[in-house]
Amino acid sequence: MPATYIQAINQAMHEEMARDENVLLLGEDVGVLGGAFKATDGLLAKFGKERVVDTPIAESLIVGAGVGLAIQGMRPILEMQFIDFISCGFDQIVNMAATLRYRHGGQTACPIVVRGPCGGGVHGGIYHSQNPEAWFFHVPGLKIVAPATAYDAKGLLKSAIRDDDPVIYLEHKFLYRRIKEDLPDSEYLVPIGKAALRKEGRDLTAISYGSPVHAVIKAARDMAGEIDIEVIDLRTLLPLDWATIRASVAKTGKALIVHEARRTGGIGGEIAARIAEELFEYLDGPVLRVASMDTHNAFAAPMEEYILPNQEKIAEAIRKLASY
């Protein structure tokens, strides 16, 4: 039976908690309610209230307690009800979790996963639509993953839970129930740090992650007769899979980066800079970006649509780049 993106996330937690008794979950309303989006559905009944902990509204506590559990050999999953609220746990992530191993000279690891729904497209307004990856992209010691498919959502979450480092796991709420696919019956993992080549092509490389991956793939298919586009789904943002990006851009000579987070200070800027530094001699045009506009995500439908990247904006950028 096909599984939705959010069911894949739910399956990953069920499997990992059954596999390892040291995996536990802390978050707001994750127990009886099963999470605001039902990501944690059924976990309380199966694993009990000591391992599925309904916390007070206290994101700093959630992350900090997760670090305390991690240094004692546990593997906590920490849910931010909306990823926007991660800002309230920011200090515990960047100053506590990310530095923990380093400032202890390697004496400890910090196996926590901080996960939660990110992204717009559902008219959530300013505090329920953010894409905070760039806040954390600048922080050494963290890993960041952002799956675009149900397969990856499950496989990456399982890898993140087993990883000994702090992982920020960005699940895109627009995809929760819109994406559905058959998942393998047997267990699988998706490795952290490896991008996926979603479509091969010769003319241009489109690099994306998360929700916009689907619009990029659709644009590439629609334009197949016109321009042969190679599509890379990064899947992991920190660390980036440079080998895949490098090989593709060296082949096509053109790069377009598409992300939903706003343009200024976004991850696309770093990718563009590194392509310019390392692959200048291969380039046949400027590295272009399609991203959200430099504003807060607006609530009213026409305003949100205006701000977010979409297939039309992507196709326009592809044509512009192809024309060089």
Partner: protein
Amino acid sequence: MTEQKERELYFWLRLIREYEDRISTLDKQGKIQGGIYSGKGQEAIVVGICHDLRPDDWIFPLHRDLGAFLVKGADPKRLMAQIFGRRDGFAKGKDSFLHGGDFSHCIFGATSMLGSTLPVAVGTAYKFRIKKEDRVAIAFFGEGASSRGDVHEAMNFAGIYKLPVVFVCENNFYAYSTPNELQFAVEDVADRGPGYGFRGDVCSGNDLHSVMKAAKKAIDRARNGEGPTFLECKTYRYHGHSEHDGAAYRSEEELITWESRDPIERWEVYMGKRKYDVAAIRAETTERVKKVVDEALAFAEASPWPEGTEAMEDLYATPVEED
């Protein structure tokens, strides 16, 4: 208490004083880099809290708790190397002072975001609870840090789950230069304990007996599953916030008043009343602590600086290879 234990406690008080005084001197001589946050005057708190802990109990010291490292069993040599930023320090030169804990002795490294270790301490205590281990976590913080949200969030959670944690507030009346009346509108910070559903006790942080008595109650309570305690120890720091701080914001008279309540002199008076030969004990202890600190200093100075390239090590436990 036996005479042996009372003499041992005196040794720890004196060792911490000597160790911190030596670091202050080295700082003045420009021999060490970075900030030094002397706990001089507050020794009775860390000795009283940590001395009777079990090796597998965890402590979460604050930046002024160098003494807690020593009493909990950290190697004085490695601690000095840590302060010197050398390779043999707990952080292998990657950070200074007390930011590198010693996991082999269940000591967590502090951050400079004061109070931020309290959520970590309650996470640790939660693990003790669900794994049915009769261990306790001790979370130290200053009265200034008590204003931070992290402290509230941690205590609230600990209260809900009756976790085996003791919150030790070292109230020395100044958060850097900010006096208590600009920090909170209560007399005793411990009043907040009942607001989280657990006891708030106050003791004299300059009186080792007072600290030990209060600590024993709180630790026993935590170990027996009776939940957390907010233990406020009233004390005073003799030095400024750091060695660079002349502490002009407080009066000379105030300092002198508190120096007259010195925890070490108070313990000597006590030992005198117990009819011990205090002069002989003092002389013998002076030799002992000097030796420990001399050795630590020699070790630290001989410890190599880390190479620059080592800055890229210890970042990730499971690195992803870049090619």
